[in-house]
Symmetry: C2
Amino acid sequence: MATDRLSAIFAALADPTRRAILAHLANGASTVKELSAPFAMSGPAISKHLAVLERAGLISRGRDAQWRPCTLRAAPLKDVADWAEHYRRFWDPSFDRLDSYLRDLQRQERDHDHSGQDHHDDVRDAV
Amino acid sequence: MATDRLSAIFAALADPTRRAILAHLANGASTVKELSAPFAMSGPAISKHLAVLERAGLISRGRDAQWRPCTLRAAPLKDVADWAEHYRRFWDPSFDRLDSYLRDLQRQERDHDHSGQDHHDDVRDAV
DNA sequence: TGGTTATCTAACCGCAGGGTTAATTAACCA
DNA sequence: TGGTTAATTAACCCTGCGGTTAGATAACCA
């Protein structure tokens, strides 16, 4: 796998088992045993999937006695959403310059109202 | 690689060369030669990357004499954006129920005004 | 026709991904 | 202390990925 951050994230998401694990964690933290329950797969296999997700920053793991509770970390998914967003104009016929302007305006207002999100939409991050 | 559609898309995106190719194609159709120019990589390597992108539905290839012009197909990127969107509440502190409601409302209006996009946000597509 | 250019296919190589089983570590409990 | 449960690590297998070089296709051009 390529070593860059975004590649690691996409690679981690390119497996239905791992996406199902993320979906499960959207309902709250969970132990490895609980996470492996839905799958016809050995424990070590799940452990490896979790290691991949952790390396991509998509989960974090704590310690509670003999359990290792996993927690969803969604920040990388924002990177994915932001990346895909660069291509919106190609699938969304209503996404023209005016729409884009209004959308950004509204987003900035919302972010200003609630909590200052940083908006680094740099060209560097484009690929 | 897993055989399901979304996995194929994510796997195709999990490579910086392929993402760079998509970025290039965002500026318009391009031949294989043009696409390979920025990379220190053999022609066949690029051909393979293009095959991966084509299998994932991210590009289509035509025929113009001895050239095979590649064109961006962004529909799968919409799938990616939609998938990531399910997790927005985890990274966007301003994404609460009211925000979601207003956003959907606005989107529906926009789609109604312009061209009827289908909005199947089914649970089936969640993973 | 022969030569050139663009591209793909074939065959190969090294390595990492996704899975297995067996052994190990770490914590609880009686 | 010893036994049980949770989870990881180790070692291995097979497949597929990302790259290579060499050869095959296909179209243009003179």
